[in-house]
C-alpha cells in the first residue's frame, strides 16, 4: 500500500477514536450525574423501615401536637445536622424533658415518616 494512504487511514482511525472517546465521556458524565441524584433520592425514599440513634439538644417541647424540636447531629442517609421537629411515639417519652437538655434519641420509621421511640437524657446544654 502507498504510504500516504496508510497514513490517511491512521488519521481517520484516530479521529473516529477521538469522537467515540468524546461521546463516551459525555455519556459517562451524565450517567454519573444521574447516579448521584438517584442515590440521593434512594437515600430519602427508601421504602423500608429504618432506625437511627441520634444525639441532639432540645430546643422546644410542644405537647399540644406531640412534637419535640431538637438541634441534632448528622443523621446518616437521612438528613444533615439541623434544627427540626420530630413527633414522639407517645407523650410519656418526653415527660421531664426540658429545653436545653442534651438527649440521645432513637428515630424509627420509613423516611420521611419517622417518630421518636426512645429518649435518654445525657446532660444540659
Amino acid at each position: 500500500m502507498r504510504l500516504w494512504k496508510a497514513i490517511a487511514l491512521l488519521n481517520l482511525a484516530l479521529g473516529v477514536g477521538l469522537l467515540i472517546g468524546y461521546l463516551w465521556w459525555g455519556r459517562e458524565a451524565s450517567r454519573l450525574r444521574q447516579e448521584t441524584t438517584l442515590t440521593i433520592q434512594a437515600g430519602a425514599a427508601a421504602l423500608e423501615e429504618r432506625e437511627w440513634a441520634v444525639r441532639g439538644v432540645v430546643r422546644s417541647v410542644i405537647p399540644e401536637i406531640n412534637v419535640l424540636v431538637v438541634t441534632h447531629e448528622d443523621i446518616p442517609g437521612f438528613m444533615p445536622s439541623m434544627t427540626m421537629g420530630f413527633r414522639a411515639a407517645n407523650p410519656k417519652l418526653y415527660a421531664g424533658v426540658q429545653v436545653g437538655d442534651l438527649i440521645r434519641f432513637t428515630l424509627k420509621g420509613v423516611p420521611p415518616n419517622v417518630t421518636i421511640v426512645a429518649i435518654t437524657r445525657e446532660g444540659k446544654s
Partner: protein, 667 residues
C-alpha cells in the same frame, strides 16, 4: 536524592527528544524536497537521529512513569512495582495524559521505524506531516499533566496556552539542530550543491521561527501570570527565580537570533568563497549555540515543573524597599509629585517611541527622552517608596478568623499592652521610659502596612525604638494570631462610623470568619453562608437581652423568608445557655454553645468603647459577601421595632453590585 535526579533527567530527556522530533518534522516540511546529494545525506542522517530520538522518548517516558509511581507512594521501591505504575496510569490525571501521549508516541515510533521508500510527493508530505501531528500532539498534551492543569478557574485556557507554548517551542527550538546540521554540510566546499537549498531553508525557517518566538513569548507571559501572578512572587520565590534564570537564558538566544537574522542571513547568498561560505559556517555554529542554550532552558523548565508555583509559595522579598500607593504614612505633597512626575515620565516614553521611529537624530532624541523618563520617575516614585522586609509579602497562613483574633487579643494583653496600652492607643504604663513613643495601633494606618510587615516587626522588633522582637517568645502561629488581631483593631478604628443604617452599595469592613456549634449539631462557619444568606450576629447577655431575643424569635420566620439567618452568641461563654434561656420565649435560631467565647472576643472589638466595658448586647448585620454592614445596640432606636431591621435587610437584598467576596487572609 539520586532517584530524584534520575527522574528529572528522564523528564528532561523526554521533553528534549519530543522537542527535537517536532522541530525536525516541521523543518523537513518547511525546507521542501531536493535530490541534491548533500541534502539527501543530511536527510538520511536526520532520519537516523529521529529513530534514536523516538527510542529515547519512549524509554524516558517509561522512566518518568516509574519515577512518578515512586513519588506518589513515597517509597522508592515502588519505582519498580508494575502494580503501582498501573494504578498511577489508570487512576490519576497524570496517568490518563501519560497513556494518551504514549499511545500517540508509539504510533510515531512505528511510523519512523517502518517507513518505506517514499514514492510520490504525497508520501513525502504525508510522512512528515504525520510526524509533526503525532509529535506535536504528544508534546502539547504534556500541559495537562503540569501546573497548568491545576489552575482554577480557567484551567482549560491555562492548559491550552501552555500546550501552545510547548508546540511553539517545539517548532522553533527543535528546528535549530536540523538547521545547524544543514548549514554545516552546505558550508563545506564539498557541500556546495546544497547551498541554494540551505539558503532558502534558512530564510523560511527564519520567518517561521519569528512567529514561533512571538507565540512563545505571548503564551509564556500568560503562563507566568497564571503561575506567579505578582512581582513579589517573581522576585521572592524559588519558582520566580527559576523563571528569571529562564529569561536570563532566553535573552542571549534572542540576541543571537537577531544577529543571525540581521547580519548573517543576508550574507549567505554573497560570493561563495569570501562571504557566503564563512557566513554559513558561522551561522551554523551560532544556531548550534542557540540550541544548546535552549536545552539548558528545558532543564530549567523541568526544575520549574517540580517547584511549587509562585502563586502558592510564600515570597521572601529581596529588596529593602517597595512602592506602595497610597503610602502607609502620609508624605506631604506625594500626590502632586506623583501627578507631575508621571506626566514628565509619560513625555519621556513618548519621546523614546518617537525618537525610535523618526530616525531623525535618533541618538540625541532617544538620549534626551530617556533622561526625561528617569527624571519623571525620580520625581514620582520616592514618596511612594516604603521600607520593606523579607516577609513583607508573606500571606498569613492563619485565616482571618474569630478564634485566631481571640488568641491574638489574649497574647496582646500579656505581651504588648504594657507599652502600647490596654486599648492599643500607645499609652501603656511602660511607654514613658522608651526612646520613642509606642505606636497607636488603633490608627487606620496600621491596616495599610502589609501583614508581612507587621509579622516582621513582631519577629525582629523595631531597632532603636525600645520594642524588641518576639521571635523567641511567640511561636510563628502566635505571631500571625497577633497580626490578625492588629488588623481587627485597625479596622475597628474605622468601624466607629458603623451605624444601624446600611450604607448602600458600600461594603468595606471584612467580617472575621467564625465557627460555631449548637449542642452536638455539626459545626458551621460564617463562610458557609457566603453567597447565600445574610447573617444577623447577636452578642447577648442574660437576663438583659431576653426581651430582644424574644422579639427576634417571634420574627424568625419572616427574617428567614427574607434571606437572613440569626446566630446568637452569649457574652458569658455559653455554659448551659440553652437551658438558661428556657422554654419561653421559644427560640429556634442557632444559639452558640461552642465557639461563643472566640466570637465575642473578636466581634466586641467592633464596638466603640468595647475595651473599657464589654458589650451586653450588640447586633451585626453581615452581607452575603462576608462584609459587616450595620451595627445596632439597644440605645439606638433604629431596630427596636423589627420593621427597622427588616428594612435594612431589604436594602441589602436589593443590592446588585458585585464586590469580590471578603478575603479570609490578611494581606
Amino acid at each position: 536524592m539520586s532517584m530524584t535526579a534520575l527522574g528529572l533527567c528522564a523528564r528532561w530527556t523526554h521533553v528534549g527528544a519530543g522537542v527535537f522530533l517536532v522541530g525536525t518534522f516541521a523543518f523537513l516540511l518547511l525546507a521542501g524536497r531536493s535530490d541534491r546529494l548533500t541534502v539527501v545525506a543530511w536527510e538520511r542522517r536526520l532520519t537516523r537521529w529521529t529513530r534514536w530520538a523516538a527510542g529515547l522518548l519512549l524509554l524516558s517516558g517509561l522512566l518518568s512513569l516509574s519515577y512518578q509511581a515512586a513519588v506518589v507512594t513515597g517509597r522508592s521501591e515502588d519505582a519498580l512495582s508494575a502494580a503501582t505504575m498501573l494504578r498511577v496510569a489508570g487512576a490519576t490525571q497524570f496517568g490518563t495524559v501519560w497513556l494518551l501521549r504514549h499511545g500517540l508516541l508509539l504510533l510515531l515510533a512505528g511510523l519512523i521505524l517502518l517507513r518505506e521508500r517514499e514514492e510520490s510527493g504525497w508520501d513525502w508530505a504525508a510522512f512528515r506531516g504525520e510526524g509533526l501531528l503525532l509529535g506535536g500532539t504528544g508534546l502539547g498534551l504534556l500541559a495537562w499533566a503540569g501546573h497548568a492543569a491545576a489552575v482554577e478557574p480557567g484551567g482549560l485556557a491555562a492548559a491550552g496556552a501552555d500546550a501552545l507554548h510547548l508546540l511553539a517551542v517545539g517548532v522553533w527550538l527543535g528546528g535549530l539542530l536540523p538547521l545547524a546540521l544543514l548549514l554545516r554540510a552546505a558550508g563545506q566546499e564539498v557541500g556546495a550543491d546544497a547551498r541554494p537549498f540551505a539558503v532558502l531553508a534558512a530564510r523560511s525557517f527564519s520567518q517561521i521561527s519569528l512567529i514561533a518566538v512571538l507565540a512563545v513569548a505571548a503564551t509564556g507571559i500568560w503562563n507566568a501570570s497564571n503561575q506567579i501572578g505578582n512581582v513579589a512572587s517573581l522576585l521572592g520565590t524559588r519558582y520566580g527565580h527559576l523563571l528569571l534564570l529562564k529569561l536570563g537564558l532566553f535573552v542571549p538566544i534572542l540576541a543571537l537570533a537577531a544577529v543571525n537574522r540581521l547580519r548573517l542571513l543576508p550574507a549567505l547568498s554573497g560570493e561563495a568563497e569570501t562571504v557566503g561560505r564563512p557566513a554559513m559556517r558561522r551561522l551554523a555554529s551560532f544556531v548550534a549555540l542557540e540550541s544548546a542554550l535552549g536545552a539548558a532552558i528545558l532543564g530549567v523548565v523541568i526544575l520549574m515543573s517540580v517547584t511549587p508555583p509562585g502563586r502558592h509559595a510564600e515570597p521572601w522579598w529581596p529588596l529593602p524597599f517597595r512602592f506602595a500607593y497610597p503610602p502607609p504614612h502620609d508624605v506631604a505633597g506625594a500626590g502632586t509629585r506623583l501627578l507631575v512626575g508621571s506626566q514628565v515620565a509619560l513625555v519621556g516614553v513618548l519621546g523614546l517611541v518617537a525618537g525610535w521611529f523618526l530616525g531623525w537624530r535618533r541618538r540625541l532624541v532617544v538620549g534626551v527622552a530617556a533622561a526625561v523618563l528617569v527624571a519623571g520617575l525620580g520625581v514620582a516614585l520616592p514618596p511612594l517608596a516604603v521600607e520593606a522586609y523579607p516577609t513583607t509579602y508573606r500571606r498569613s497562613p492563619i485565616p482571618y478568623q474569630a478564634a485566631s483574633i481571640a488568641d491574638g487579643r489574649h497574647l496582646y494583653a500579656t505581651h504588648c499592652a504594657a507599652c502600647h496600652g490596654r486599648t492599643a492607643e500607645g499609652d501603656g504604663p511602660d511607654a514613658a521610659g522608651l526612646p520613642r513613643k509606642p505606636a497607636n495601633l488603633s490608627d487606620p494606618h496600621v491596616g495599610r502596612h502589609t501583614a508581612g510587615d507587621l509579622f516582621w516587626w513582631l519577629t525582629r522588633g523595631i531597632p532603636g525604638s525600645g520594642m524588641s522582637g518576639f521571635g523567641d517568645r511567640l511561636s510563628e502561629a502566635e505571631r500571625w494570631d497577633v497580626v490578625n488581631f492588629l488588623r481587627t483593631v485597625s479596622a475597628a478604628g474605622r468601624a466607629r462610623g458603623l451605624t444601624a443604617v446600611v450604607e448602600p452599595d458600600r461594603p468595606w469592613l471584612v467580617a472575621p470568619d467564625f465557627t460555631y456549634a449548637v449542642g452536638p449539631g455539626a459545626s458551621r462557619s460564617l463562610k458557609d453562608y457566603r453567597g447565600r444568606r445574610l447573617v444577623l450576629l447577636v452578642l447577648f447577655t442574660l437576663p438583659d437581652s431576653r426581651p430582644r431575643l424574644g422579639q427576634l424569635a417571634r420574627n424568625y420566620d419572616i427574617l428567614q423568608t427574607m434571606g437572613a439567618d440569626v446566630v446568637a452568641a452569649p457574652t458569658d461563654g455559653g455554659d448551659q445557655i440553652i437551658s438558661r434561656l428556657g422554654a419561653s420565649p421559644r427560640i429556634l435560631f442557632p444559639v452558640v454553645t461552642d465557639g461563643a467565647r472566640e466570637i465575642v472576643a473578636a466581634y466586641s472589638l467592633f464596638q466603640p468603647a468595647a475595651w473599657r466595658s464589654p458589650p451586653t448586647h450588640v447586633e451585626y448585620l453581615i452581607d452575603r459577601q462576608g462584609y459587616l454592614r450595620a451595627r445596632w445596640t439597644p440605645d439606638a432606636r433604629d431596630w427596636a421595632e423589627a420593621t427597622g431591621l427588616l428594612a435594612e435587610i431589604q436594602q441589602l437584598n436589593q443590592e446588585t453590585i458585585s464586590v469580590p467576596p471578603a478575603e479570609e487572609h490578611v494581606h
